[in-house]
Symmetry: C2
Subunit: 499 residues, 2 copies
C-alpha cells in the first residue's frame, strides 16, 4: 500500500519532469521569441513544484516507512532503487539553504544571457561578477553537501557518481602523457590529409534525408522520436517512447550534421532502450553524464569515423551530395574526415585533441573550487593551459575562456564527463570486440543492429539502476582504464597520418 | 496583499494551462506515436492539478475575501474580472460529483479512439455505448449546474454565455428560411462556375511559402508564432507572445491550405492581440467559441473569398503555382473558389451551406439533451435532417452521424458557435464598413493592417473581459442579427451564380 502510494507520488514527479522536458525541447527548436519570457515562468512554476515534491514531508515519510526493515526487503527492485535515488536527491537538496538556492536559480538564469553577450563582445569583465557569484555558491555548496578528499569530489558526484579527483587525475594524466606527443607527431607529419572537398555546397534538404537514413540504420526508432534542428543540437529523452534528436545543417560543411546527428543519435539510443519498467521513476534516465557521453561518442567515433562504416555509406553520401566526392576515393575521404590537430574551440575539436580541451577545463575548475585561483585569474590561466597542452594560445576570450555555456549555468563538475565518456567508449568497444569479433564486417554490411543490441544489453536497459562504475565493471571487468582509448588513438592516427 | 496573493495563485493556474497547451500542440503536430500514451498521463497529471487549484479551499477563501465590499471596489479591473471568472468556474465544477467527473474524463478520453475506429468502419453500433454514456452525463450535468428555460441552455453557457435556445431558434430559423431557397437557386442555376483548374498539382513547399506570405499580410506576427502542419489543423494561443497556427497541404487542392491557413490565422490574430495586462489570468483568452469563430470566418470568407483580395493576391498565387492558373482569368478563378452546393461533410462545406450543417447538429443535440430522441435514433435522425435541410442523404454513417469528433469528446453545446460566429462576422463586417468604407480598396492594395487594427480595437484586445453579446452590442449596437449574413450570402451568390 505504501509502496504503491510512493510509486504514484514519484510518477507524478516524473510526469512534471516530462512536461518540463517538452517545454525545454520546444524552447530550443523554434519557440517564438516573444513568448519566451512568459514560457520561462511556466518552467519555473513546474520546476519549483518538483523541488517541493522532492523535499516534502510526504516523501520523507514514504522513505522512512519503506526503509523499515520488515518492508524494505519485500519491495520490488525498481521501488528500492527509486527510494535510494530519492534519498540521495533529498539529502543534497535539504542541505542547501532555500533562500540561497532560489537566488542561485535566478542568478544562473540571468548569467546565461550575460555570458552570451560577453562572449559576443569578447568581454570577460562583464561576465566576471556573475561567474564570481556562481563560483562562490559552488564553493559553499561543496561544504553544505560535504565531501571526502578533494572538495571537487562533491561536484563530481552530481555528474559522475563514484568518480573522484584521485581517479580522474590518474586517468587524465595518462591521457595527457600519451596524447601530447601524438599531437606533435600528427602536426609534424608530412602526410596531411586532403580536406578541400569537405567544404563544398551540400544542400540542407539532402543532408536532412541522409541524416534520417543514418539514424535509421543505427536502429534509432522514428516511431519513438523525431529529428529537428536546433542552434545548439542536443538529444532529449522525454519518455522511452519519445526521445528526440536535434541537429544543425551547415551547407559548407556536411560534417556538422552527419557527425552531430550520429552523436546525438547515440544519446537517443540510450534513452529509447531503457527498460520500460523504470518509466515513472527516477531510474528512467541515463546513469551519468559520462556513460551518456560514452554512447554518443561510441557512435560518433567508433562507428561514424570508422573506415568500414564508410565502405557501406560512402556511396549513399555521394547520392545525396551534388558531386563534391565524385573524384575522391574512399581512402582520401576517410583520411579527410579524420583530419586532426590543435584548435581553439572544444566543440570543433577532433577525436585526438578533444580530451586535452577537457583537461584544461577540469584543472581550472578544480583549482577554482579549491580556492587556488580566483575568477579574475581565469582568462590568463585558460590561455596558459591551452598553450601548455595544445601549443596554441587564444587571441581573445571569446575563443578562450568564454567559449562554453556550462559555467554560466553553474555546471561545475560536468566537463570531466566528456573525456571520461570517451575513455568508457573505448573500454566498451574493447569488450564488444570480444562478443562481436566481426565488428568491422558488420559496419561494412551496414548491419548495425547487433551493435546496438549489445549496447542495450550491457548499458541502455539498466537506466539509472546501476552506477557508472558498476556498468563498466560488469561489462569490462575493470574500473576506468584509459589505455584502450590511448591505444585506439595511436593506432588510428598512425594510419591516417602514416606515422 | 490578498489581491496580490490571488493574482499569484491564478498566475500559477494559468502557467499550468500554458504547459498543457504546449503539450497539446506537440501531440497534434508530430509527437512520436510510441510516447503518446505516457504523454497523455502527463497531461492528466497537470489537468487534475488545475482542477484541484480551481476548486480548492484556498481559492474559495480568496474569492470570499476579495468579494468583501470594502475590498471589492478597490480592486484592479483585471482582478475583478478574474474573480468573476473563477467564481463562475468554481460554481460549475463544485456541482459535479468528483467521482462522476473523473469517470467522465476517462470515458471521453477512451471514446475518442472508439469514435475514430467506428468512423473508419462506418460502424455506429460500436460507438453507441460510449455516446450513450456521454449523453447520459450531459443530461445529468444540466441538472447539476441548473438552467433557466430550455435544458440545453446550461450547455450553451459553456461555449456562448448569454445565448439561449430562444435566441438561437430564432436566428437559425431565419437562416434556414433564407438559405434553403438560396441553395435551390444556386443548384439549379445554369451558370455553374468552372472548377477543374482548382485540382491540379500544387507543390507543398510552394503552398507553405504562400501560406506564410498571406499570414504576414494579415499582420500575423511570426515573432509571436509559427506555422506547422497537423492532420486536423487548429490554432492555439499559449500566451499572446506565442500563438501557433497549423495547416495541412493537399497537393491536389490548394484551397485546403490557403483557406485553412487564413481561417486559423484569424483565430491566431485574436489571441496575439489580447491586451497583455490579462496575461496570467483567466481573462487572457477568447471570450467565447462564437466570437473566436467570428474572427476566423471573417478572415476566411470576408477577406479570403473576397474578389478584391484576389485582385492583389492572384498574381502571387500564380507565382507559387506551377501553371494551373495561367489560362484562368480572375473572374473565373473567383467564381471557382466560391463554388457552392449541398454536400455531406461539414468541414468541406461552402459558405452558403455551412450553417445548414450546423443547424442539423444543433437540433439533434437539443432533442437529445431534452430526452426527445435517444442515441440509438441518431443515425436515422441525422440522415432525415440532412435530407430535409440540404436535400441529400448520407449513404453511410461515416459520412453522416460519425463525421465529427465533437460528441466523442463530450462537446455538446459547441456546434451552434460555428454558425453564430458566422452571423457575428457578418455583423462585424457591416460595422467595419462604416469605419472603413474603402474596405475593398484596402484588400485591393493588400493593405490589411487597418482591418486587423479595427478588429483589435473592437474585439481582440478585451480577451474574456467582455461577454460575447457585450462585444457585439458595443460594436454594432445590436444583439445577434442574422440579416447581415443573409444579405451577404444572397448578394454574393447572386453574383457568383448570376441568379
Amino acid at each position: 500500500m505504501v509502496e504503491q502510494q510512493f510509486r504514484e507520488y514519484i510518477k507524478t514527479i516524473s510526469n512534471y519532469q516530462e512536461a518540463i522536458g517538452v517545454l525545454g525541447w520546444d524552447l530550443r527548436t523554434g519557440a517564438p521569441r516573444k513568448g519566451v519570457e512568459q514560457r520561462s515562468e511556466v518552467i519555473g512554476t513546474l520546476s519549483s513544484e518538483v523541488f517541493k515534491m522532492s523535499t516534502s514531508d510526504e516523501i520523507k515519510n514514504f522513505i522512512k516507512k519503506l526503509r523499515e526493515e520488515s518492508t524494505w526487503f519485500q519491495l520490488d527492485e525498481v521501488t528500492r532503487g527509486s527510494v535510494k535515488e530519492c534519498e540521495k536527491e533529498l539529502k543534497k537538496l535539504e542541505k542547501i539553504p532555500e533562500k540561497e538556492f532560489k537566488d542561485y536559480v535566478i542568478l544562473t538564469s540571468n548569467a546565461e544571457s550575460a555570458w552570451e553577450e560577453a562572449k559576443h563582445n569578447s568581454d570577460f569583465a562583464s561576465f566576471q561578477p556573475y561567474l564570481e557569484k556562481i563560483v562562490d555558491f559552488n564553493r559553499k555548496y561543496v561544504e553544505w553537501v560535504g565531501y571526502e578528499g578533494n572538495k571537487y569530489n562533491a561536484l563530481l558526484d552530481d555528474y559522475e557518481p563514484g568518480l573522484t579527483v584521485d581517479i580522474i587525475d590518474d586517468v587524465f594524466g595518462k591521457l595527457r602523457e600519451a596524447i601530447v606527443p601524438l599531437v606533435k607527431a600528427v602536426t609534424e607529419s608530412p602526410n596531411q590529409p586532403k580536406t578541400d572537398f569537405l567544404f563544398e555546397h551540400f544542400p540542407t534538404k539532402n543532408q536532412e534525408a541522409l541524416s534520417k537514413e543514418i539514424l535509421k540504420s543505427m536502429q534509432y526508432d522514428f516511431e519513438a522520436g523525431r529529428l529537428d534542428t536546433a542552434v545548439h543540437p542536443f538529444a532529449t529523452g522525454l519518455n522511452p517512447g519519445d526521445v528526440r534528436v536535434t541537429t544543425k545543417y551547415d551547407e559548407k560543411d556536411f560534417r556538422t550534421a552527419v557527425f552531430g546527428t550520429i552523436h546525438e543519435g547515440g544519446h537517443a539510443l540510450y534513452e529509447q532502450n531503457i527498460d520500460k519498467k523504470y518509466i515513472g521513476t527516477p531510474l528512467c534516465d541515463g546513469t551519468s553524464m559520462g556513460i551518456h557521453e560514452s554512447q554518443s561518442l561510441f557512435w560518433e567515433n567508433f562507428v561514424g569515423r570508422n573506415k568500414a562504416f564508410w565502405e557501406k555509406h560512402y556511396d549513399k553520401l555521394k547520392e545525396y551530395a551534388t558531386g563534391q566526392f565524385d573524384d575522391v576515393d574512399l581512402d582520401t575521404f576517410y583520411r579527410g574526415i579524420n583530419v586532426a590537430g590543435p584548435s581553439l574551440i572544444r566543440i570543433e575539436a577532433d577525436e585526438m585533441t578533444y580530451s586535452l580541451h577537457i583537461i584544461v577545463r577540469y584543472e581550472l575548475e578544480k583549482a577554482l573550487i579549491n580556492g587556488e585561483i580566483e575568477v579574475k585569474d581565469l582568462p590568463k590561466a585558460w590561455n596558459d593551459k591551452m598553450e601548455e597542452l595544445l601549443g596554441i594560445r587564444p587571441s581573445n576570450d571569446a575563443e578562450g575562456v568564454l567559449q562554453d555555456v556550462h559555467w554560466s549555468g553553474g555546471s561545475f563538475g560536468y566537463f570531466p564527463s566528456y573525456a571520461l565518456g570517451y575513455v568508457y567508449a573505448a573500454q566498451l568497444k574493447n569488450a564488444l570486440d570480444k562478443d562481436l569479433p566481426n565488428y568491422d564486417d558488420l559496419l561494412r554490411e551496414g548491419n548495425l543492429a547487433p551493435i546496438k543490441e549489445w549496447m542495450t544489453k550491457h548499458v541502455h536497459q539498466f537506466g539509472k539502476s546501476k552506477e557508472p562504475l558498476e556498468i563498466l565493471k560488469d561489462v569490462t571487468g575493470e574500473g576506468v582504464n584509459p589505455s584502450y582509448l590511448i591505444d585506439y588513438l595511436r593506432e588510428k592516427y598512425s594510419e591516417v597520418y602514416k606515422l
